[in-house]
């Protein structure tokens, strides 16, 4: 761990994509939170560094009932879905407000998100008007997955590299400010469109747009959500649930020389830590929507503060100091070291005896976490051990009585309850890892509810590092099928 710095880290973004600057890397994504100037000015007051205007184009008519969400274990909006279209406000109203915002907030980034019909003239016109209004940059919405795509716009463009390249080139003919192309994830390889945008001359990229989704079905009415008068339509999925998908696509783009451009990362970002991860994979700025819709603009305060504190602790002075540092830590599977071995280690002092690691290992992994500390530890074959089902049925058949006297209560809950072991949890309930069988998969450490109770510890195999590629060099990668 480096020495914490004695100066405050600098969160400023300068000349992103060849010309966009903002007080910090946190931008609001093109969405309902950036629908009008009044909102964006309040967002800037709250601390946001930039805003991508709700997509400007020929005004649309929206349906009512536009959102639906996935709640998980009592947590609301783990995933979020919308069928709202681009701005339903007249173009000149949006442009007039851009001018107003820029006049009042010259240091903040205001990006015009654009979507018009696929003609050179239409794009030239909207580009010129947006820049005349004072936009610091343009984001081409080639990603909207619903409604607009049926009209030949949005993801209908973003899913066809040739269209994306052509329109980007049209925009570049006219644009004086940086041009970002927003990528749709609803395509088998996101790099195809990233490369097309780069060929078309884009200055930067934004990724990812929302993912095609049906969030769920009302089990009373049997109508999928959101319900628009008895029918639903697929929407765009976002929120914390999509972050891992977004991170993967960001990595794919940034690790590909033909795709890589200055990238504004989007997808499930709700905290400073999420933002740090996107920047570590190469993003220059990040965009946020769902979290701001859930909690309001105020969340940016902790994002800035938290990111600065982490940077300070890690010794990073600027965003560029750590941008992309994790990119080369992602590789293809064939380059991973086959001779690296870790095994699970359970901290007996921390274990609370829930035994979730035991059942997870038995049913979902490799049957090497056992409850045999009292009955006698036994390494080796699975048949040596009682099965989880037999253990449970033994408990069900046991005779238990309520401890009614003080002595009985002491025996059940007192210091020496459980009868064995020096640990807070009775020894019989503290699982034991058979390291000879543990494959080091991490499952137990994922299910353990107690922080740092199960850690994965490296054990030496005594072998030099060797990858799959190295091991199979000169041999066929896949064994020939044996026909008998």
């Amino acid at each position: 761990m480096p020495e914490p710095m004695r100066v405050e880290p600098d969160l400023r973004v300068t000349n992103f994509a060849g010309g966009i600057s903002s007080p910090n890397p946190f931008w609001l994504a093109s969405a309902p939170p950036t629908n009008c100037g009044e909102q964006i000015m309040r967002a800037f007051d709250a601390g946001w560094g930039g805003a991508v205007w709700k997509t400007i184009g020929a005004p649309v008519t929206n349906v009512t009932s536009r959102y639906s969400s996935i709640d998980w274990m009592g947590q609301r909006m783990m995933g979020f879905n919308n069928i709202e279209l681009i701005s339903d406000r007249p173009i000149d109203v949006n442009l007039r407000e851009i001018t107003e915002v820029k006049k009042r907030y010259p240091a903040h980034a205001v990006i015009a998100s654009l979507m018009v019909e696929s003609t050179r003239e239409a794009w030239h016109e909207i580009v010129a008007r947006s820049e005349d209004a004072g936009a610091d940059g343009l984001e081409l919405n080639f990603g909207c997955p619903h409604g607009m795509s049926e009209r030949g716009m949005g993801s209908a463009v973003g899913q066809v590299p040739e269209y994306a390249e052509m329109i980007t080139a049209w925009v570049k003919e006219k644009a004086r400010t940086p041009v970002l192309v927003k990528l749709t994830p609803n395509i088998s390889d996101i790099r195809a469109v990233a490369r097309a945008a780069k060929r078309g001359g884009a200055d930067g990229l934004s990724a990812i747009n929302t993912i095609n989704s049906i969030t769920g079905i009302d089990l009373d009415t049997l109508i999928p959500r959101p319900n628009v008068d008895g029918k639903s339509s697929h929407g765009g999925y976002c929120g914390p649930a999509v972050k891992p998908i977004a991170l993967n696509m960001v990595q794919q783009v940034m690790a590909d020389a033909d795709s890589a451009l200055p990238l504004s990362g989007i997808g499930g970002i709700a905290t400073w830590a999420d933002a740090a991860e996107f920047i570590l994979l190469g993003c220059g700025t990040v965009q946020v929507c769902t979290a701001a819709m859930h909690y309001g603009y105020r969340i940016v305060e902790d994002m800035c503060d938290g990111l600065a504190n982490w940077m300070r602790a890690k010794g990073f002075r600027t965003i560029d100091d750590f941008r992309g540092l994790s990119l080369n830590r992602v590789t293809e599977w064939k380059h991973l070291n086959l001779n690296y071995k870790i095994v699970a280690h359970i901290d007996e002092q921390k274990c609370i005896g829930c035994d979730l690691c035991h059942i997870a290992c038995w049913d979902g992994a490799h049957q090497c976490i056992h409850l045999d500390r009292v009955s006698g530890p036994m390494d080796g074959h699975v048949e040596l051990h009682a099965t989880p089902a037999s253990r449970e049925s033994e408990s069900r058949e046991s005779i238990t009585v309520t401890p009614v006297t003080r002595r009985e209560r002491e025996a059940a809950f007192g210091k020496h309850a459980g009868g064995h072991g020096p640990y807070p949890t009775p020894l019989a309930r503290i699982p034991r890892v058979d390291e000879t069988e543990c494959v080091g998969c991490n499952l137990c450490s994922c299910v353990c509810p107690v922080e740092n109770c199960i850690t994965m510890v490296e054990v030496s195999t005594g072998l030099p590092p060797e990858t799959w590629e190295e091991r199979t060099r000169g041999t066929a990668c896949v064994a020939e099928p044996q026909i008998t």
Partner: protein, 474 residues
């Protein structure tokens, strides 16, 4: 008295198929108000949030700690996943009186006391409240316990007593196709659940609702039917293949001090004198006593003493004092009960023993007491430490006696220290036609222990029945 009329109506009809038990008992409104439930039920949303806190432990300690081994993570998961019917049926699989258990169980020393959250520095999962949530849903739904009657297996069993042990035994036997008859000496079934549990935990109506569900399975109830003589017993033995004894304990123990008998309260409207804790609880639960004034002294510091003391306070007593011959640290009531008593404003007088009861000049009660200290051979009274307490009602709560007299009639059923001796795995007594469980075998534990005993005995009887049938075929 309204309640009394309904009771007469009820008794005169016996158990008419058309009459619903819980509608026969009319609650006294004043009592209901004074004994409002101690804990508010969880709202639907709070229940889901609480259910989602559960870690779903493997071979869960809460399940092990429950004498009826309810699959706690299993039913909680069903609440979290919006499957309340499944949750309730999961609970009922293990414990047919789960509704009352969710209200009266001392969960601090059972499931919730064993929750791993204690070692995680978090409050334990509110298992009792979640169970109540599921059971309340089930009771509101009006669904019967048995959707399809089991095929008759040609087994007839009598359950003597209609408390939790007998009810659990009867339900399990009926579920597996036996014909069961429950015999109860009182007017209402349910035993201590109906007559002996503090009303702010479990109301009489709630207890009767559960009995009604068991009756709905096809269990026959014979009320006002005491089994006391050897002739009655012989008739029972002739009519039934097996007899389950779930008779509980006998009357509360007397203080055995001068004046106790002479001051005993005889009529229900009279409240000055000596009235034992269970009599007091039964009287207010059935609406016979709705008010209690003056100064009350409860003798004893067990859970029933706390129930009686709190009841006296809620019935309007000016002051209630618990008199105990030992120290605060020796209190036999559960810690949460003791804390509850303090919370309700009960006072305590430690290390004192009642030695006599007299009438004062103003026609109230004088309770003579002596201080007690630890001597070399146990507790001893301190000479010259006389203290006379002026009060209106003395409530002995020093435990129940066993039903030795009655049980002596049951030939071949061996007893030890006032308890029926059983094989703990099967509930079988030393007479193979008799099984037993609950307080008459354990000397007085919790409802959930009685339920576990009753169910184990039912399984023991079924096993014996199968063995007999197989032997007959061989």
């Amino acid at each position: 008295m309204r309640y009394f009329q309904s009771l007469i109506l009820y008794v005169s009809h016996g158990f008419d198929e058309d009459l619903n038990l819980s509608s026969m008992f009319v609650e006294d409104r004043e009592i209901r108000e004074r004994f409002a439930a101690l804990h508010a039920p969880l709202t639907a949303q709070a229940a889901v949030v609480e259910a989602n806190r559960c870690l779903n432990c493997f071979d869960a300690p809460c399940m092990v700690a429950c004498p009826t081994h309810i699959d706690v993570p299993g039913f909680i998961r069903r609440i979290a996943n919006d499957n309340l019917r499944g949750s309730a049926r999961k609970i009922l699989e293990s414990n047919v009186l789960a509704g009352s258990c969710s209200r009266v169980c001392p969960v601090e020393v059972l499931c919730e006391g064993s929750c791993v959250m204690h070692r995680y520095d978090r409050p334990p999962i509110q298992i009792a409240q979640l169970q109540r949530h599921a059971m309340d849903f089930f009771h509101r739904s009006g669904e019967p316990l048995l959707l399809q009657p089991a095929a008759e297996i040609g087994l007839r069993v009598a359950c003597v007593g209609s408390g939790p042990a007998s009810l659990a035994c009867a339900a399990e036997l009926r579920r597996q196709g036996a014909r069961v008859t429950v015999l109860e000496r009182r007017a209402l079934p349910g035993g201590l659940n109906t007559y002996g549990v503090a009303d702010y935990k479990l109301s009489t109506a709630e207890s009767l609702l559960e009995v009604e569900l068991i009756r709905g399975m096809g269990v026959e109830f014979r009320l006002n039917t005491a089994v006391e003589s050897s002739a009655q017993l012989a008739a029972l033995e002739a009519e039934f293949d097996y007899i389950f004894l779930g008779v509980g304990l006998g009357a509360m123990q007397r203080l055995n001090i001068p004046g106790e008998e002479a001051h005993a309260i005889q009529r229900m409207h009279q409240t000055s004198g000596v009235l034992n804790a269970l009599e007091l609880i039964a009287a207010y639960k059935t609406g016979h006593i709705t008010r209690l004034g003056g100064k009350i002294i409860v003798v004893g510091a067990g859970n029933t003493a706390v129930d009686a003391a709190v009841a006296a306070k809620r019935l309007g007593a000016e002051s209630v004092t618990i008199l105990y011959r030992r120290a605060e640290t020796d209190v036999t009531a559960f810690d949460f009960e003791f804390a509850h008593a303090r919370h309700e404003g009960i006072e305590f007088l430690w290390r004192r023993l009642p030695v006599g009861i007299r009438t004062s000049e103003d026609d109230r009660i004088l309770l003579d007491t002596l201080a007690v200290r630890q001597g070399e051979s146990g507790l001893e009274t301190v000479p010259g430490s006389e203290l006379t307490l002026h009060c209106d009602t003395v409530i002995p709560a020093i435990g129940q006696s066993s039903l030795m007299e009655m049980l002596r009639e049951f030939s071949g059923v061996v007893m030890q220290q006032g308890r029926v001796t059983i094989d703990p795995d099967t509930g079988e007594t030393s007479n193979r036609k008799f099984y037993a469980g609950g307080d008459c075998t354990n000397g007085g534990r919790e409802v959930v222990d009685a339920v576990a005993d009753g169910k184990r005995a039912a399984l023991g009887i079924l096993k014996a029945h199968c063995a007999t049938k197989e032997a007959a075929h061989a």
